[in-house]
Amino acid sequence: MAYVPLADQDDPHALHDPHSFITKYVWSQDHKVIAIQYGGTAIFVGLIALGLSILMRLQLGFPDSISWIDPAFYYQAVTMHGMIMVVYLLTALFLGGFGNYLIPLMCGTRDMVFPFLNMLSFWFYLLSVIILLASFFVTGGPAGAGWTLYAPQSITAGTPGSGGGMLLMLISLAVFIVAFTMGGLNYVTTILQARTRGMTLMRMPLSIWGIFTATVLGLFAFPALLVSAIMLGFDLVLGTSFFMPAMMQLGEQSTQDGGSPILFQHLFWFFGHPEVYIVALPAFGLVSDVIATHARKNIFGYRMMVWAIIAIGGLSFLVWAHHMYVSGMNPYFGFFFATTTLIIAVPTALKVYNWVLTLWQGNIRLNTPMLFAIGFIFTFVHGGLTGLFLGNVIIDVPLADTYFVVAHFHMVMGVSPVLVLYAALYHWYPKMTGRMYNETMGKVHFWCTFLGTYAIYLPMHYLGFLGVPRRYYEMGNTDFVPATAQALNANITIAAIFVATAQVLFFINIFMSLRKEKDAGGNPWGATTLEWQTPDTPPKHGNWGPELPTVYRWAYDYSVPGAKQDFIPQNEPGEEYEKTFHTRGHS
């Protein structure tokens, strides 16, 4: 073969442009297709988890109205709902979905640095989902010990799904972790190494900072889940006693003894607490970009926002035992973790202030993504404040295992990230499809979801104050709970069914808009970041046409005084600045 200088060779991506349906949409190595595969799968399992939550609510609101919801099924529904929502929906959709879609587009690259590994990551994720769903069909049903899978309960005979269901759950988690590690190495390496020229670290949009830090957290935290899953699996299948203490079962001494259940709790929460921020940090990032774009204002305190993301990420590894205050720990230990928990509120509050200050005197466009973003600020402040209560040992002890806790964590890491997901899905829908969604339907969807979730979770705080315990199939002889609690429970169930039904609007909207609505154009929001500046919408394979974009400015040049438009794209050189490194007069 004749020698051809590198500069004269054809673009390698143009050469590998996939043509057949299979390589284009099934075994695809294109980050955008993988993102949509990830997102579609995550939303699919998320809908299953949503259905399970409605079944749980029916039992709680109208006890014994559905005959086949027995205690075993109830606990299995609780467990699968929790695990699917936290790991298989939120983690996968934020990092596998939005991470995959936005990292190369926002950083100005053609694809991830390891496209094959990226494809493998999705197929391993799909495999883990299939294994998890298969557990519905094994003898004894899926795992039913709560999403925390506490040993020895989770693997002791008598707990629903303690055999095959539990084993499949553990295998599925291990496969998920392998998938996440492959994807995560890819995201971090791409962000660090492959940014286009001019894209310095501090010119990256906050979405990328959020996704980046969350991925690093995931890479450090998921090994703890892997270790606990492997050791629990050994205890379950091979009869070791890492976690299994001496127990009497059906009048007989078990063969396993001496293990430490507390060890499992520490390992689990060493994963479990960073997991909260693995879900929250991408949400923080995405919502910052949505707010800045639709408020037509630069994000307030960009550097502080970046540092806060990093600080929250670091601190999230020092707070895990606040989930274990009632496990009988040394008071000094609890004191330490209460303190770190309150410290983490500082950077978090800083972010909230900065979002609000970004809105201040902005030219706010109250369209659907913006409504969801503002809704997020409300629910997040709400859930964050109850977190301060629960972070204190002395308040946590009476409130532990009541509905107050359920209300808190659903508000802060259920509703809040989901509102951001909707904000982000509506915001980037025009880029992903080239179509505009139906604005009216989107707004109706927002108000139903936002007010509906408040109708669900606000009353739950009061149930918690009344001492209504969580995880109970039905109340039984609990005299201290007034009879009115049941009325509240019934109302919550009705609200939950309403909210779940309202989500149909979202699906109708995105599928109908694919055909009917008008072309969105390349940059319908007038946004500055690179993904809105692609030559084609939706972006083609390779994203950028013949030449990669060059970045001349940060991601938030909105409403710059004296500029022609109220936004200046990141790849806009600007006449007076042309290719020189220029410092503006003001700071």
Binding site: V188, F242, S260
Partner: protein, 210 residues
């Protein structure tokens, strides 16, 4: 520009191209090397957590810990793994001197030898397991035994993962990959084997002192 300076700059003040016209990765090394270092950090977290669990199980368990008497084979295996690392390192040195890297060249042969020695190490670990089982140290009989099999097993799995990459590199070398890629493969495999040798030193220390 240092990482600290990068994250403390005020991006709203600056318009233009701070680094000149070329795109600059954060670290001036190949992407594969960055990914490997990241993976090594993740693996460090994994082994650290296993080790912490090991000590906590001793401390928090019901006092049922009966230390394993490690078979002498482990010392031989350690020697084999040290030899692996040494051979890989030698292969890197040779690869830097050679223009083209083929399987039959010195670097290639040493690279192959390193992988084969790893197989010897794995076989040696299996022998150690057999000795333990023969001596009544079964998985279920004591948590110390269970941890012994778990820790050595996870270490072997990491070596097996390395061997998978090693096999791919061999095939690439056979089909005449460009020397730069082969050199990088050899170097990264060597780094990874050095890392797993250090892990083994740590594990061996932990296992034999408790």
């Amino acid at each position: 520009m240092s990482l600290y300076r990068q994250v403390t700059e005020k991006p709203w003040n600056q318009v233009g191209l701070p680094d000149g016209i070329e795109a600059r990765p954060t670290f001036q090394v190949p992407d594969q090397k960055v990914a490997l270092v990241l993976f090594v950090i993740v693996a460090c977290v994994l082994f650290s957590l296993l080790t912490v669990s090991y000590y906590l199980r001793i401390a928090w368990g019901a006092g049922d810990w009966v230390p394993v008497s490690e078979p002498a084979t482990l010392w031989i295996n350690t020697g084999v793994l040290v030899a692996c690392s040494a051979v890989f390192q030698w292969s890197v040195i040779q690869a830097r001197r050679q223009e083209a890297i083929r399987l039959t060249s010195m670097a290639g042969l040493l690279f192959v030898a390193g992988g084969l020695l790893t197989l010897v190490f794995i076989a040696g670990q299996y022998t150690a397991w057999q000795t333990l089982i023969g001596g009544g140290y079964t998985l279920q009989s004591n948590p110390a035994n269970a941890f012994f099999y778990l820790l050595t097993g996870v270490h072997i799995l990491h070596l097996a993962g390395g061997l998978w990459v090693w096999t791919k590199a061999l095939f690439n070398m056979r089909s005449g990959a460009n020397p730069g890629d082969s050199r990088l493969s050899i170097e990264l495999c060597t780094w990874y084997w050095h890392f797993l040798l250090l892990v083994w030193f740590g594990l061996f220390y932990v296992l034999s002192t408790t």
